[in-house]
């Protein structure tokens, strides 16, 4: 299913409130039907590393798109400047994010080679976003990579984030969770609590937790990178996507 023949480019998609926002798309060029993946960037922004991840999904045979969640605050700015601008304005509101995720899902479903199935993946703050999207929108699968502040108390002095455990009962697609046991946001206990609510809700999920890995273990450009966990995590991702949106 992997292909070398794909195009990656900047596109405009219709996001929350009908706003046109920038997105980075990577699409195999042939017309055989294939699933789509919405990629949610981490808090540092719509950056080169997350664009590389988006292209990796195309290389593996999926249509992929990453919406620029900071487009409204900082159109055309460099990713780090846009992230700083977003921080100055209090970050991305949850309802606006859900609208943008829906726009990205619709973009993928409307591609001529779509098989009609779309999953979502997010890293770090994007992991929380993937959970949020799958609880609100008809995704066929969601991949949560060490999502912080999905549940649990936000530390004193931190802007509070809504506890999203209640969305377990409205999850649409199955959930793949990938976590490091050395992480502190989320802690292993918070991951336990997420598993518990999914189990209580009777929702399909699989969680994998890695010893010797903490937050951001997939990130090849950071000291947090843990190749053993990342390589195994990618294998879990490909298997999950094959089951949920492949074919």
């Amino acid at each position: 299913m992997a292909t070398d023949a794909f195009i990656s480019e900047t596109v405009m998609i219709t996001g929350h409130g009908g706003d046109e926002i920038e997105a980075y798309a990577a699409r195999p060029l042939d017309e055989s039907p294939r699933g789509g993946v919405v990629v949610i960037h981490h808090m540092p922004g719509y950056d080169a590393g997350t664009k590389e991840i988006t292209r990796n999904f195309a290389f593996h045979g999926y249509n992929a798109v990453m919406p620029n969640l900071y487009w409204r605050e900082a159109p055309g700015a460099s990713p780090d400047d846009a992230a700083a601008e977003s921080r100055a304005r209090g970050g991305v509101p949850d309802d606006r994010f859900v609208g943008d995720a829906e726009g990205a899902m619709n973009y993928l479903k409307n591609l001529s080679n779509s098989n009609g199935k779309v999953a979502i993946i997010g890293y770090c703050s994007g992991g929380r976003h993937a959970w949020l999207a799958n609880g609100n929108l008809p995704f066929d699968g969601a991949i949560v990579c060490y999502g912080a502040f999905i549940n649990g108390e936000t530390p004193e002095g931190f802007p509070p984030r809504e506890d999203l455990r209640h969305l377990a009962s409205t999850m649409h697609g199955p959930i793949l969770g990938l976590f490091g046991n050395d992480d502190v946001y989320p802690t292993p206990e918070q991951v336990d609590a997420l598993e518990a609510v999914l189990g209580d809700a009777g929702k399909p999920y699989e969680f994998h937790r890695y010893d010797g890995a903490g937050h951001a273990f997939f990130c090849v450009e950071r000291t947090a990178y843990r190749p053993e966990a990342a390589v195994d995590g990618w294998a879990k991702i490909w298997a999950f996507l094959d089951t949920t949106i492949g074919g």
């Binding site: 981490h42 808090m43 540092p44 950056d47 605050e73 900082a74 700015a77 460099s78 990713p79 780090d80 400047d81 846009a82 992230a83 700083a84 601008e85 921080r87 100055a88 970050g91 770090c124 703050s125 060490y146 912080a148 502040f149 936000t154 530390p155 002095g157 931190f158 802007p159 984030r161 992480d183 502190v184 946001y185 903490g214 937050h215 951001a216 950071r222 000291t223 947090a224």
Partner: protein, 89 residues
Amino acid sequence: MCTYQTEFLEVTGSGKGPASWLRVTHAQVYVDHPVHAMAGHTLNIDLRNPAEGPAARVAIELHPTAARELAEAILRSLDAVPDAVLAAG
């Protein structure tokens, strides 16, 4: 993790960005993932001029120890100068 925690303050002064000097009017200080520094988390400072757009920014990412040493050096430097000098502007 992405901490979200941020200290905001208004400032008066100038900073040098990639292209030229710019007046800075706002600062934000936070511990979070760096863009460039080789560390999981750093003390980050953005000196900004929002009126001139997102790119009007001088950014610093420091290891926590270095950040404390810098903060203490700033205070020592200020304390070493007679108040009258500072008041003179």
